[in-house]
């Protein structure tokens, strides 16, 4: 086990994949000469050469579609879309090809494609660069969606994605690239579809993923000072969703607060809330709470951006609400 940053963990996994399987190659904007927009792919071009680390033109639709075609043709492409904000240009290839070719062909095709995207807000880069659209992707049958929150998961889930015969979308919150964590570089690939309890508790279940896990844990510490011990569940995988882990947690705590950086309306949190209502209605002592982004395109000014996004204080407040007024 060694301590490394999230970006180093991703790079380590990419390197391991490129070394271990000649079918793996990287494709995306500035992944090569530039070293990667977030420095994730730094050094890989030098190590593996331009055939396996390919800088693409700014053609999201075609290079993602080419990823689909290359996967059909026997390769194991890892396509990097610089951020989820630019993935909108590739939506047709994602929804109408990557997600549906298996089904439309009656099961003849598999698309073993991995797509990595940076996501999330908090760096004052304004509305067009601050989206969290994981929820949109989790809506689509035919693809899988993971959102690692720790360096160990960033490595483990990326390797799991490579072993998956279906398209897997990996969302890396841009605020996480610099965080540290213990990583076992010899560990086997992780399992897609399994959530992890990051902190045990009995007062409420705080259910979250990706960039909000850290904030949830901080909120849990604050609440613990007042004797309120919440459980923090890191979903890690949005599709497939570990519903049984969610329901098991709620069966223990009887209260739930979901933290999701997407906008509140039609958010992923709404899906989790609906599943809790369907499967855990009789366990609940209070309505399920949601802490999401405010209904506004993410603003530039810091105090505004901070107010728009889920924060520790908001999570603490939501937990107290769910305990206090109904308990």
């Amino acid at each position: 086990m060694i301590k490394m940053t999230y970006r180093d963990a991703v790079r380590s996994a990419l390197r391991e994949a490129l070394r271990g399987d000649p079918r793996v190659f990287l494709m995306g904007e500035d992944v090569g000469r530039y070293g990667g927009c977030f420095k994730v792919t730094y050094g890989l071009l030098e190590e593996f050469g331009p055939e396996r680390v390919r800088d693409t033109p700014l053609s999201e639709s075609t290079f993602l579609g080419a990823g689909v075609g290359a996967a059909l043709g026997g390769m194991r492409p890892i396509v990097e879309i610089m951020t989820v904000n630019f993935s909108l240009l590739a939506m047709d290839q994602i929804v109408n090809n990557a997600a549906t070719l298996r089904h439309m062909s009656g099961g003849q095709l598999s698309v073993p494609l991995v797509v990595r995207m940076a996501t999330g807000a908090g760096r004052q880069v304004a509305a067009q660069h601050s989206h969290s659209l994981e929820g949109w992707y989790a809506h689509i049958p035919g693809i899988k969606v993971v959102a690692p929150a720790t360096p160990a998961d960033a490595r483990g889930l990326l390797l799991a994605a490579l072993h998956d015969p279906d398209p897997v979308f990996v969302f890396e919150h841009s605020a996480l690239y610099g965080i540290d964590g213990e990583v076992d570089e010899g560990a086997a690939p992780d399992v897609i579809g399994r959530a992890l309890v990051r902190r045990r508790g009995d007062a409420a279940s705080v259910i979250t993923y990706g960039g909000c896990v850290g904030k949830a844990l901080q909120a849990a510490d604050q609440l613990a000072a007042d004797g309120i011990e919440v459980e923090v569940l890191d979903l890690r995988s949005l599709r497939p969703l570990d519903t049984s882990a969610i329901l098991a947690s709620v069966a223990r705590t009887h209260r739930a607060v979901i933290v999701d950086e997407g906008w509140r309306t039609c958010s992923f949190a709404a899906e989790v809330s609906a599943q809790i209502m369907e499967g855990g209605f009789y366990s609940l002592d209070a309505p399920v709470g949601r802490v999401c982004s405010a209904e506004v395109p993410i603003p530039y000014a810091k105090h505004m951006e901070d107010a728009a996004l889920p924060q520790v204080a908001g999570i603490v407040h939501a937990v107290r609400e769910t305990i206090g007024s109904h308990g």
């Binding site: 519903t243 069966a251 223990r252 009789y282």
Partner: protein, 381 residues
């Protein structure tokens, strides 16, 4: 009529391009049809002679309707354009239920049912649930509350709650007559002082606060029960338990037939004005179907008064688990002997039907005597 567009279910044949007797070959355009996408040509897929035209220009027909009959060269007739039914499509299998989480030891009861259970003082754990997965619902709680006071002799099938209530009460009446040894006492009360007082009192009150005779009767009954408490008891299987509070069940007839007797709570401690308000409220809610189940199960004794119907004397049937029922008739002018002389006085027949297991005629008589005495001092009520 051919299917020409994605969701076409009917079309208008706007023009025929061929006539009866014309030869046609495969691919020829034979007619024109107006669809929601515009005018589309209809082609034939066979070669032969048009024998009959069945749909005229301008007609709108559903898709699948035969438009014409063509006799092929070989003599076989072809119908334009009737689809041949194919193999039947499979039926839908039942949907799989979503995963459910169970907290062991925690009853399945909805928040709404829990609230109602608290209001009606029902223990949810004792109720059988009919909701999803055996969960306890509001209806289950209300049914349990109604059953607790008046368990039905036969299953309830009434379509509305009022009817169901009536059925429950009817069943209770039958059981009462079967199981309770009733004894009956009656007396006639001189109401002259009460009526005079009432008239004077009502002059002082605004119209909306005027008292009816019934309020005096309720109060007198309640205070009399303090003197003979065994008539204000609840029968519990083998013995009567006196009730600490006096809740008078007021028998109210319902429009459309039927009777309910909801409680006027703590009748002994309320003023005449409060009793009046309470009575009016009960009558209104009884007639609009707005009574609570608790109101039907709370009375410790019932008073039935049919004075308005013109009945002079009424002997009621005891509502179990009560042990007595008081009856009042109409106030009538009758000859009365006062110090040897006969004069007309307003009088009222008061009766008592009581459970002989709990009280005897002597105690019952004391009760009626107390009612009489109390009504002679209406100002003290």
């Amino acid at each position: 009529m051919p299917i020409l567009t994605v969701d076409m279910t009917a079309g208008t044949l706007t023009a025929w391009r061929k006539r009866v007797g014309d030869a046609v070959k495969r691919g020829d355009i034979i007619a024109e049809v107006e669809t929601d996408k515009g005018l589309i040509d209809v082609e034939v897929f066979t070669t032969g002679v048009i024998e009959r035209i069945l749909v005229q220009a301008g007609e709108t027909v559903p898709t699948g309707t035969v438009l014409a009959v063509i006799t092929e060269e070989a003599g076989t007739q072809v119908f334009v354009a009737r689809p041949v039914p194919g193999a039947p499509v499979p039926a839908a299998p039942p949907a799989a239920p979503p995963p459910i989480a169970e907290t062991p030891g925690r009853p399945r009861i909805s928040p709404l049912a829990r609230k109602v259970a608290a209001e009606l003082r029902v223990d949810p754990a004792s109720v059988r649930g009919t909701g999803p997965g055996g969960a306890v619902t509001r209806d289950d709680i209300e049914r349990a509350a109604a059953d607790r006071a008046q368990p039905p002799a036969r299953p309830v099938e009434a379509p509305d709650r009022q009817a169901r209530m009536r059925q429950l009460i009817g069943a209770a009446m039958a059981r009462s007559k079967r199981e309770i040894p009733h004894y009956y006492l009656g007396t006639t009360i001189d109401m002259s002082r009460a009526m005079t007082w009432l008239a004077e009192e009502n002059l002082k009150r605004p119209v909306t606060e005027r008292l009816l005779t019934g309020a005096l009767l309720m109060k007198a009954t309640a205070l009399a029960l303090r003197e003979v408490p065994e008539l204000n008891a609840v029968w519990r299987g083998a013995e009567a338990v006196p009730s600490p509070a006096i809740h008078i069940g007021v028998a109210i007839s319902l429009r459309g037939g039927g009777l309910v007797a909801p409680a006027l709570h703590d009748a002994d401690r309320r003023s005449l004005g409060e009793l009046m308000t309470g009575l009016r409220d009960l009558v209104r809610r009884a007639r609009s179907g707005g009574l609570r189940s608790s109101e039907l199960s709370d009375p410790t004794i019932t008073v039935t008064s049919l004075g308005e119907q013109g009945v002079e004397t009424v002997f009621g049937i005891i509502y179990p688990p009560q042990v007595a029922i008081v009856g009042f008739g109409r106030v009538v002018e009758r000859p009365w002997v006062v110090q040897g002389r006969i004069e007309a006085r307003p009088v009222l027949a008061a009766t008592l039907s009581a459970d002989h297991r709990v009280s005897d005629g002597h105690r019952g008589g004391l009760f009626l005597a107390a009612v009489d005495r109390l009504l002679q001092e209406p100002g003290a009520l």
